[in-house]
Every structure is written in structure tokens, then in C-alpha cells.
Symmetry: C2
Subunit: 237 residues, 2 copies
């Protein structure tokens, strides 16, 4: 963390542009005035004059806030504060090819943590229908055990369904974004190793077992992935 943050801070102090400052000031302004979603903002020219910068600079800053979904603009009506899509910005940046290997590893682990912590939510929210659908997915897989592309697709379907059962949309979306990363890391593995507990086993546990049973099952299921942590396939420096 320290190294990355340090670089970041130094960079930002070094070449801070007006747009950066205005973005910050606008953000503070919105917070201080405690605007609520739907509230109208001053117009660009007013902001520019108040801040003592050109409309251009203000527009660059506003463009950023627009991207984050913090403000919406409609012609004539002006700008209004809106609810940002908290994962939207995250999504834009999540490209395995430009993320450093340490962070990739972190994200890989993050997904394991999520998966292991999911049990409680699942047992609070699961319904018979959910389990039925989950079982359908698992069985589909048991039949067609050959092609690797199919295996991956079903792997995603199964675990995706688990997140869906959690009833937490944000979590589900988050997991969905993490998939490419996870896939990228795993695909760098030489051989495919599957855990001792497969998807059908997990469904069975979900049907008749306890939360603790499920957690243990999930751990076994993910064991190959945990193994790579111990093996130091991705060394932390």
C-alpha cells in the first residue's frame, strides 16, 4: 500500500492542474452544502466566475463528475446532483492488462475472501427455488464435463448464482467485475486442479447442511486456489 500510495500522492502534488483543484473544490462544495440528489447546481459560467477560472476548466472537472455519475446535465435545465453508480468508476479501471501483478493477486484473494464469507448471507436468504436453479446448473455441468470453455462458463454461472442468492445486488455486480481478473490469474496456471468438493456437493450441503458445513465445503472446493497462495506462485515482495 505504502509504496503505491506514496507514488500516487507525489504525482498528484507534483503536477496538479486547475481541473484537479476545481474537481476537488466542487466535490467539497457539494458535500458542504449537503446537496441531495435532484438538487440543481449553479451553471457553468457562474462556477467559473466564482472560482476564477475559465469555463473550460470547470467543464473538465464537471466532465469527471459526470463520468462518476455524481452530476447529470440537461440542456436548459442545468445540472443536477445525482446518485453515482458506486461501481461504475471501478468497472472502467478493471483491466487485467494494466493492473500490476501485486494488485491482481490482491483481487484474486479478495474474491476468495468473499466466497468464504458468503455463507451467512446465503443461509439467511436462500429459497427452495434458488437451490433448485443452482442444482440445475450443477447438474448441467456434471453431464458435460469435457470442453474447458464450457467448464469455465458453468463455473461462472454457478458461483454467479450463489452471489445472486445472497440478495445483494452490489455484491453480485462486484463479483461479476472481478471475474475477468480471477480468470486471468487462474488461466496463468499450468494445470487445472479441481477441489475435492464439487458444485453438486455444495448444493447438497446447502439443502441439508449447516452454515458451517457449507463454509467447510466451500473451503475444500476452493482449496486448489488457496494452495497457490501457500505455494507462493505470486510472491509478495
Amino acid at each position: 500500500m505504502s509504496k503505491l500510495n506514496l507514488n500516487n500522492d507525489l504525482e498528484r502534488i507534483a503536477n496538479t492542474t486547475m481541473a484537479d483543484v476545481v474537481e476537488l473544490r466542487l466535490r467539497e462544495y457539494l458535500k458542504k452544502k449537503s446537496f441531495k440528489p435532484g438538487d440543481a447546481l449553479p451553471k457553468e459560467l457562474e462556477l467559473a466566475e466564482a472560482l476564477g477560472v475559465s469555463r473550460n476548466v470547470v467543464r473538465e472537472a464537471l466532465s469527471r463528475l459526470r463520468m462518476l455519475g455524481m452530476v447529470e446535465t440537461r440542456k436548459k435545465r442545468g445540472m443536477i446532483l445525482s446518485r453515482p453508480d458506486i461501481l461504475g468508476a471501478f468497472e472502467r479501471v478493471l483491466d487485467p492488462l494494466i493492473i500490476d501483478s501485486d494488485t491482481l493477486q490482491d483481487i484474486f484473494e479478495l474474491r476468495l475472501v468473499l466466497e468464504m464469507g458468503l455463507a451467512d448471507l446465503l443461509y439467511i436468504r436462500k429459497t427452495d427455488k434458488d437451490i433448485e436453479e443452482l442444482e440445475k446448473i450443477a447438474k448441467r455441468e456434471a453431464v458435460n464435463d469435457g470442453a474447458p470453455t464450457f467448464r469455465i462458463k458453468n463455473e461462472i454461472a454457478f458461483h454467479g448464482k450463489l452471489y445472486e442468492i445472497s440478495g445483494n445486488d452490489t455484491l453480485k455486480r462486484f463479483q461479476n467485475m472481478l471475474l475477468p481478473i480471477f480468470g486471468y490469474v487462474v488461466s496463468n496456471e499450468k494445470v487445472y486442479r479441481s477441489g475435492k468438493v464439487n458444485h453438486l456437493d455444495l448444493v447438497q450441503i446447502l439443502k441439508t447442511g449447516t452454515k458451517e458445513d457449507f463454509r467447510l465445503g466451500m473451503k475444500e472446493h476452493l482449496q486448489p486456489h488457496f494452495d497457490r497462495l501457500n505455494e507462493g506462485a505470486f510472491e509478495k515482495e
Copy 2:
């Protein structure tokens, strides 16, 4: 999810501006050309001409990418692709006051999931020194049990230390960002309810117990928070 995503998409199609398009195109361009961090990008004017838009528009799009940390610019040297800080953008948007209550609830749950899933990483990475420090924090708390601000501060210190022990910087930062949300949701609670297992108990388990013991202990510790899920304090519609 569906509703939120749908709105989002519709919005973006409805009033799509040139800056939006250029931002997308640039992103695609970077990905297609498989630029690596450090590679130089074409200059603004070239991009503007190639895309058939004004330099203004290109700058708005670039301003966004700059904010995300995807590109850095130095005068004269031009722009270079750089590694985005994957949590940076996320951080800007995480304001409890503008996030809708459903998402707040999702994030609240997300933190519980993380906490419950942390055990495996902890047991892989924990050292004697870590546990010592953790115990120091827990003991500090046991002595000074009065003031609520102190309690909250120590609560944060303890759980923060846990994430630190996980050895996952991204996870640690992530948790740190989630804190205000968590605090906001919890502070809306009428009365403070503590779990049957306190921090000192958790330290003890970490010392002599198994992963499974720790998970059960953590569950007990977080039980008051899980209770609010069942109570429907935050109903899902």
C-alpha cells in the same frame, strides 16, 4: 440490479455527449493497441483530428482518464499510459449522504461478508508480532470502556489491524473506504449492542484456536449486525 442498470444504460444512450464517446473510444484504443504502462500516447491535437472532434472534447475525455489514473501527462513529453489506482475512483464516490439506502445496506453486508471470509488469509499470514499488536489494541480497549468515540476508534483500529494481518493491501484500503459507510449505517441504530465475543476473545482464538474457531467467534462478535439483517431494519424492496 436490473432496475439500476437499466436506468443507467437508458440515461447514457439518451444524452450521450462527444466526450462520452471519445472517452470510450480512447479506452478501446488503449486496449486494442495493448499499450503498456509507460508507453507514450499520441498528442491531443492528433487525437482530436483522428477522431474528428475539437481538442476541447478530447481534453474532457482525457481529463477523465487522468482522474482515473489511466494516463499521466507531462508537459512537452506528452502523455503516457499509467497504472490506474483501482480504488481511487471508488473512493471519490463513496459518500454515505448521496448513496441510496439499498446500496448502503449492500455495502454494510459486503463488509460483514469480508470479515467472515477473512479467517483463511489470517491463518496463512499471521505472525506472532501481529498478534501481539492486536492484543495491545484489544487490551487498550478493555481498560477504557467508557467514551463512545473511543470505542469506535478502537473498533476501527482492531478490525483495521485484522485486515493488515491479511497481508492484502488492496483489501485493507477497501475496508478503510467502507468504514464511513459502515459507521453511518450503524450510527443510525438506536442502541449499541455488542456481541458475546469481544476483541480479546478473538485474539485468544487467533492464538490457540483453529480457523473454524475463529470464524465462529467472528460470527458471534458480529452477531448484532447480522441480527439487523433478519430484523429487516433495512428492508429490501
